[in-house]
Symmetry: C2
């Protein structure tokens, strides 16, 4: 069977007309998104391994076997790459928050669920997460945007703490400090967690969820998981 060669114009047309080839091949825009994600993951992995300051865009391109020019197409600067990392983290955070608000039964339940979902996505297969400490590398505009998004997100979490205090699921506490401590406990995990280690992402996020829940609960558990590795590996 003769293979049909897809020229530049055909591909462009395909991007618009969904369903061509019965979607056997990802659309061009989807391929672009997949490449961008692959680059992002390679970058995060290199930053985590060698440190942000010690990793050049060139090394990242090399690790993927692509040219520097290909990388520049997606991320013209290291700063743009960091902005994309923060962007992804904020998206995961807000998605987790939305799911937790939908499914949680009370303030504490929503808060714990949010932290658990957030952590699991952060450290799981598809989102090898960067320790989010390189804000200095952002442009002033990107940084201002991040601060704004993060402030809004933290405000929402403080509201969940207040909701929990009101509905009696969370003990009286300082919502601002409490949210800082919860997020700190969660954000530090990528520093020591690796998918190649003894614990899975699901085990770690479930066990950390338990610990953080107990910190605030008006009905604190009498015992916590004594062996993280014995928890369900997936889920």
């Amino acid at each position: 069977m003769a293979k049909t060669r897809v020229g530049k114009r055909d591909t462009a047309a395909k991007t618009k007309a969904a369903g061509t080839w019965h979607d056997a091949v990802p659309s061009r825009s989807m391929q672009r998104e997949m490449k961008r994600e692959a680059l992002l993951r390679a970058a995060v992995s290199a930053f985590n391994r060698r440190g942000f300051g010690q990793t050049s865009l060139e090394e990242i391109a090399q690790s993927l076997g692509v040219t520097k020019a290909a990388l520049y197409y997606y991320f013209p600067t290291k700063s743009a790459l960091v902005a994309a990392c923060f962007d992804r983290a904020m998206r995961v955070a807000n998605d987790s928050l939305a799911a937790a608000k939908r499914d949680g039964s009370n303030g504490r339940d929503k808060l714990t669920l949010m932290l658990r979902l957030y952590l699991k996505t952060m450290i799981g297969e598809s989102n090898e997460s960067l320790l989010l400490t390189e804000e200095h590398a952002l442009t002033p505009a990107d940084r201002a945007q991040l601060v704004e998004q993060r402030d809004a997100f933290e405000r929402e979490l403080r509201n969940l703490v207040k909701e929990g205090i009101r509905d009696g699921s969370i003990v009286p506490c300082d919502p601002k400090l409490t949210v800082f401590v919860l997020l700190g406990a969660v954000h530090w995990v990528p520093k020591w967690f690796t998918l190649k280690g003894a614990w899975t992402d699901a085990q770690v996020s479930a066990a950390i969820g338990e610990l953080l829940d107990r910190m605030l609960s008006t009905s604190p558990a009498l015992r916590l998981t004594e062996n993280v590795a014995a928890l369900p590996a997936a889920g």
Copy 2:
């Protein structure tokens, strides 16, 4: 009154013979230590403000009004500077641990006291703390040494958790995960805390101590501090 000029040889002699000039002037070795500390603090402050990757040794020297050569005398490389930062953090950690083991009444009490002392020194006046994420910048030898020291320190903390479970002050839990979470919550604080903010180092470390204590305690408090700023500002 004629001022006595202190030549190079006199100073060297003074270093050995303590008590000359009735200690009105710090000894030469003490002055050296003070300068080294000042450099370390300036470096940490610059790293925290602009990020490790974006700060050169030259900028640090400039911020103190000294020459690059003066800085090189103490820290010939950025890697040596980072090693000194980690070294200081490990010293503070081990000092806090020793004090807590001496003064604490049971496993949980020792653990909470340790975290509180550690945090307070880390974020207080004299120890403006670097987010400890730049291990990549260490030489392999320095890094191996750090990992060894840190492993020993974490082992000691796990032993405190086990002691607390045995003496009934801490609920059954996984000591390894618990220590990771406790240290994460504490190590993230320099990321958001500033001595110029609404809360003092003493307030923050006391309130975080309460939260972390409650996470593990077999007799969890019914309420936590509701307004961190209302805690004693010092102490």
